[in-house]
Amino acid sequence: MGEAIVITSGKGGVGKTTTTANIGAALAQAGQRVALIDADIGLRNLDVVMGLENRIVYDLVDVVEGFAKLKHALIKDKRFENLYLLPAAQTRDKTAVSPDQMRALVGEMKQEFDFVLIDCPAGIEQGFKNAVAGSDKAIVVATPEVSSVRDADRIIGLLEAEEKHHPSLIVNRIRPSMVKKGDMMDIDDMIEILAIDLLGVVPDDEFIVVSTNRGEPAVLNQQSKAGEAYRLISRRLLGENVPLMKLEEEGQGLLGRLRKMMGIKG
């Protein structure tokens, strides 16, 4: 019996889809059987981020409505041994499925896969409720910006109200040089404000744009900093106790903090 994890954020554009694609790919690289579900019905994007957009025949709504069998709708990613995508419907909307239907679908998929990752749409309405319904755990993605942290706080409140998702945080697109100047919140600031466990930190990386252009998850590239961060996160999801990614240019430890506090450029 696998585990279903929803990747959510409240705010749009903070990297939910990229995070879903890369954690999924990294888990598959680590030998896990992984299925990704795009729960953003009407605005699907996980297919293009994964580079699988030309292979869609059936989608999530087809499966839920019984037009297609799950195994016919799942797209196998040929670059990874055990990675599959269940795409969202593009010509329907959020009301095409119900939380109960999602719960049943995810439950069925957990029989087959070690991990079922659900890419949640932005917002807190029905799309969010659907995406969360079948999940055991939640990952909240937030960037170090006021708007993103505020929305993340709202999402965490909604998840904690249900007392079953144990949300953990991924701080995305952190820029060490700005953190050093005091112009960007650091990981400690985010944890302090959101009062939630940290799952990982992903540095801002131009390579993500390249990887999205090509439809190839960044974890396929050994040079990508973000790719490395997602590999570490996936190992943490597998229960390994790996340290946080070292961010360049950021003062670490007591000396670093002291420098940061006194504004000494180290």
């Binding site: 910006e145 409140g157 005091g182 112009d183 600031d189």
Partner: protein, 88 residues
Amino acid sequence: MFDLFARVFGREDASKEVAKERLRLVLVHDRSSLSPQALESLKNDLLQVISQYLDIDDQGFRVDFSRHEDAMALVANIPIKKKVSRNL
């Protein structure tokens, strides 16, 4: 305290401190799940009750959430003009 550090070391423009302070305040409101209208009506009710006993300066009357370490508090600032004399 931070302001002092910032001024001494010429870093008063560290904008993350501004971000954190603004977030703390906005989140106190968000988490309270009390709408601005409800807060306004609470304020008016308080004003009405208290003015039965005291002569309040309603221009300076403030009711707002604030954060004290980890706890949230509703803080009312009620300037008093003078005690209403009552014949018992």
